[in-house]
Amino acid sequence: MSINTKIVDDFVANGIEFVTTVPCKQLAGVIDEVEARPEIYHIPSNKEDEGMGLCAGAFMGGKRPAIIMQNTAIGVTINTLVTLTQYYRMPLPMLISYRGELREPVACQVEMAVHTKALLNQLNIPTYHFHKESDAEELDTILKYTFMCNKPVAILTDASFWGGYGDQ
């Protein structure tokens, strides 16, 4: 089974029916998988804070949401995370491509990578870091934890987890 299938299987098994995405090269396969699943309403967002608004609404309408985005999004969603998701105490699994880590080819991505964990820590957001493919075995437990505690939870997935960027 591909890692993309495994991730989306875990989403579906945890009752996630509403997924918003802002694309990333590393996330292309998992986004295709989300789009392909009849159990999931896939709604691409133009910006990640918009996506978090959609997820908040879907949750209040009775559907479990998730967001898929790059770590650069942490820079644009802090106000939304604290004044909406956390303030109203809503669950939000955030599957995040952790750009700017080992094997990154684009130097600019490193500038946000060095702030990513510090910002998540400052926001008291539970954070998990997938570095090897076997780390994804914990995804099911992380999703259960997210909907148990009604918090945004970050799952950082780096280039090593996704198998790198190919020949460079």
Binding site: F18, Y41, I43, P44, S45, N46, K47, D49, E50, G51, M52, G53, L54, C55, A56, G57, A58, F59, M60, G61, G62, K63, P65, N79, T80, T83, L84, Y87, Y88, R89, M90
Partner: protein
């Protein structure tokens, strides 16, 4: 004035996201959802209009109160009060039912939109200025909890 009721969800501090939250609620269930937003807020989250246009929820109405100013921060002018037409932008984004009306006609236009059972964007043109109202002090988790219970009812 609309009285406080459990079916109201008050977004207290996330300027721009009223339409996104409302669309999410509308897509997740069948009851009619009316998102009330300002022109300044829509300008803040312009990306919402293509998302709305391309994810049609016929139980969703976006009511934009367009007074051409940032009302909560001291009535500084917005571009919507100058050359930019939010109704034209919404149409260009692909929204199919867009109505611009004057403030005095809003009640009738809104009722027609509800009865049509078609996703509708209403741009209500009005003068700037606020009436004196207290700050909402209700706890956000209480707002969210009673809203969810009334959505489920």
């Amino acid at each position: 004035m609309i009285d406080d009721q459990p079916t109201n969800f008050y977004m207290l501090g996330t300027m721009g996201l009223s339409s996104s939250i409302g669309l999410g609620v509308a897509l997740a269930q069948d009851k009619t959802v009316i998102s009330i937003d300002g022109d300044g807020s829509v300008l803040t989250n312009f990306g919402t209009l293509p998302t709305i246009a391309n994810n049609v929820a016929d139980n969703f109405i976006l009511l934009i109160v367009d007074n051409g100013s940032y009302g909560s921060t001291g009535d500084q002018p917005t571009y919507a009060g100058k050359k930019t037409s939010l109704a034209a932008v919404a149409k260009a984004c692909g929204c199919e039912n867009v109505i611009e009306c004057q403030d005095k006609d809003t009640g009738e236009v809104l009722q027609k939109a509800i009865d049509s059972k078609k996703m509708t964007i209403i741009v209500c043109k009005c003068d700037s200025g606020n009436i004196k109202l207290p700050v909402i002090t209700m706890d956000p988790v209480v707002i969210r909890d009673r809203f969810m219970k009334s959505v489920q009812a």
